[in-house]
Symmetry: C3
Subunit: 358 residues, 3 copies
Amino acid sequence: MLTLEIEQASTTAPVQRDIRRTGLHPDYWYPVARSREVACGKAHAARFAGAEIVLVRPEQGPVFALEDRCAHRQVPLSRGVVDGERIKCGYHCWTFDRTGACVGVPYYKKGMERPRGVRPYPAREAHGFIWVFPGDPALAEAAPFPQLSSCSDPAYKTRFLDREIGCHYSFMHENLMDMNHQFLHRRLMGGIKTICLDARSGPGWAEVDYTFGRDSGKQPLGEALIIGRHGVKSADQVKDFMTIRTEYPYQSLKFYTDGGSVPALDLWNCYIPLDAEQRRNRTFGLLSVRRPPIPFLLDAFWPVIVWFTNAIFTEDRWIVELEQAAFDRQGADANLEIFPAIRNLRRVLIEEGVALPA
Amino acid sequence: MLTLEIEQASTTAPVQRDIRRTGLHPDYWYPVARSREVACGKAHAARFAGAEIVLVRPEQGPVFALEDRCAHRQVPLSRGVVDGERIKCGYHCWTFDRTGACVGVPYYKKGMERPRGVRPYPAREAHGFIWVFPGDPALAEAAPFPQLSSCSDPAYKTRFLDREIGCHYSFMHENLMDMNHQFLHRRLMGGIKTICLDARSGPGWAEVDYTFGRDSGKQPLGEALIIGRHGVKSADQVKDFMTIRTEYPYQSLKFYTDGGSVPALDLWNCYIPLDAEQRRNRTFGLLSVRRPPIPFLLDAFWPVIVWFTNAIFTEDRWIVELEQAAFDRQGADANLEIFPAIRNLRRVLIEEGVALPA
Amino acid sequence: MLTLEIEQASTTAPVQRDIRRTGLHPDYWYPVARSREVACGKAHAARFAGAEIVLVRPEQGPVFALEDRCAHRQVPLSRGVVDGERIKCGYHCWTFDRTGACVGVPYYKKGMERPRGVRPYPAREAHGFIWVFPGDPALAEAAPFPQLSSCSDPAYKTRFLDREIGCHYSFMHENLMDMNHQFLHRRLMGGIKTICLDARSGPGWAEVDYTFGRDSGKQPLGEALIIGRHGVKSADQVKDFMTIRTEYPYQSLKFYTDGGSVPALDLWNCYIPLDAEQRRNRTFGLLSVRRPPIPFLLDAFWPVIVWFTNAIFTEDRWIVELEQAAFDRQGADANLEIFPAIRNLRRVLIEEGVALPA
């Protein structure tokens, strides 16, 4: 078991923490649903690390988020009825406003115990997602909110990624950052030679630069379309350049071709733990591809890009779920990591995360 | 977590007990199967709170009940063969009589260890059910046996209810007794105004009286048929009267219309825990509807009543299973009960029940 | 709970061990796959008591067996690529040879931590199976390897048995050895009277002799074909003779007809635990039937034999899985065994086995 000794602020005793038993830190803004999942006048059940959250979009006014349980009999409010800016539990019609206060019990009489409310979550809507702040609400306002420029830039066409995957979020970060796993995609991408140029890290972040060459096989059409031009050259000729960065808790990949300074491909990902043990995640992503000079060319070939990214993702899902299964069998992280970029990443994920209850 | 402090007889230390971790007291008569499930000359597997019970109906003589395991290799006797008033295990043909004694092992030879028998359960057949007494057999004879009159009264037509539901029996008692949950049935019953008239309780029982008015919506046909007449009046005109009573461990609902003194509707329910944790139950019920003066009218409309009661029950099942799921997630009862009738009921269920093994 | 007191070598304190919590001793040769399951140039995932094992059949050279996990990220090597006498992990292409040594990491650079290898298992191929030695490799060479003569003798026709069954291996041994369970097969075999002639045992082995008579019913065709002649006589006339022997950890059944000295039926079985708790097994068997004098007669009737043995086996599977379910419910072995042959067998299985982790 590889663990990391971390000095605790309040004591000198070091703690040991297994990366797969490290929870995502709650004091960040996290997407928990696509905007379009929450219809007008409706409620929607979302999750973050075992916390059940109801997202409510009133007919008027912004989306709000509450604990997804009635204070009375604990059934999900998301199965209830939205009425104006309030949500009514579907069982006995206890009614809650956007602050979580209980503002109505139809059969309430003097002398009965005072109904309690439920916990509200700070919520925002941006970039096509509903975001919540699962941690200390006092920190929400000041917490950095992801600035994602490519997905709203008309020079790019953007695809939403949204998949539920049976693994800890850390496997997702490692999978994307370690480009030495091209062997996994050999059937789809042919023989690619990955060259790591540099690995850097600092407090809360780790990043790595790569360039690529083709060993064998032909460049697939999907890949050519995504990276914006045809015919990757042999390893010593290319000027392609990729940077993958985990800036806790988010991850991005930018791919530059022919020495350009604007990315041909700009990917942003966030991996939301679903269950309390954080053994499943929902991966939300924005995959932005720079439009080529010929109008509509990218649109015409979009189905190929969709097929290709889905095919790659299917292989990645297969392997990360095998990793989680191995962890579950072994009961502890037994990875032998030798690649400096991933060792940096692991340190960031462990240091920035929180201990999961045993 | 709402708990109740109970003085233990033998000590002054109070015990705290979670209502959902309270087992049904075994020293009562419980229906565990419909009579028609146990065919002549056949065995039938039943369960009570994790105890496996084989019901045997010989060609001649009354039904008997034994532990459903062979004393030899522990496989269910219910998978064996009924032979006269005996049951033979289907594996090595060990044979048991109605007292549970082992009365035959085909290959038994002198010098072998003496075969043991299995535990018998006191059993009865009445009201269309097979009943057993899962507790101390010495108490069976003197224990009160439910007197159910309407179901054998030709003035009533009776429907058997029989469903397996994924929740603790206490949720069933609470669901029926708390008529403020009409909001759950708003699509089927329209807007009903529930008025609680009185809530009473004593040792081993709790009951509550209601009357009703219609806020909005039209009275559905199924409801009109069940309660025996058309056109519920506005809330301050009605004389309809409902009493729901839990007389441990059974529950009944009687509905009187227009100030009548015989019930138009007479429902008796019993909720049998199936598993040892008592997180599932089988609900047995007898729903008796008083026949109107016109002969066969009730029979003609019976399919509507069946449809309507099934539709109501489907909604109830949905919500009580959501309650159980919430309890399982939270690990303890977190309900905030403000309604006096349900607070009484909870006290009865906790006081009369037994602690479940942790 | 029936347990056995065993003197431990190093102490005088007796240990108590539940037969169903006794693991199969790893210091034996065990079949873990049919030969034909492992194709040329391919890898195959096998299991022994929770240990994942990859079997690799190179294009040239014998099959080899390794721990089925990459030393790097723990995913199964069996999902990788066989290349010569090496296997490459399908994720980052770490490469391992037949000794388990890591002989290649495509992106390895000086200064990186040294890659580790994985554990090899001694492996053999014989009698149509791939065998491994899951215990101490130093003992593999000297360990007895099953000598199975009938299956390679042209005087016999052999059927491979291969089924996954949801029970501890001990239930399989007991099921076959206790022929008093003919009652289970009453629909297939009619009424057979089993007469136990003798039960013997010694260190690591137990055996029992039987003869049979027919009480009632007609001999089925499948049975007649398997035992090589028609018309079993009444109980006091027959000279049929059966010996069932557990020679740890294997089991055999030999059936001799009419006082013959070569078996008409020769069955060899081995029950491989699959999971760490050993609650599931894969039963491998070789069922050899002596050919009758008329050429091809046995071949012509082979489908009947296949059908008959499958039908018998289906009943056995049903009952042993009920036994395991009873054990799981009861949490401990509660069997009341009175038959000396099975008491001997239980002693052998407990003494020769190992304690399972609690």
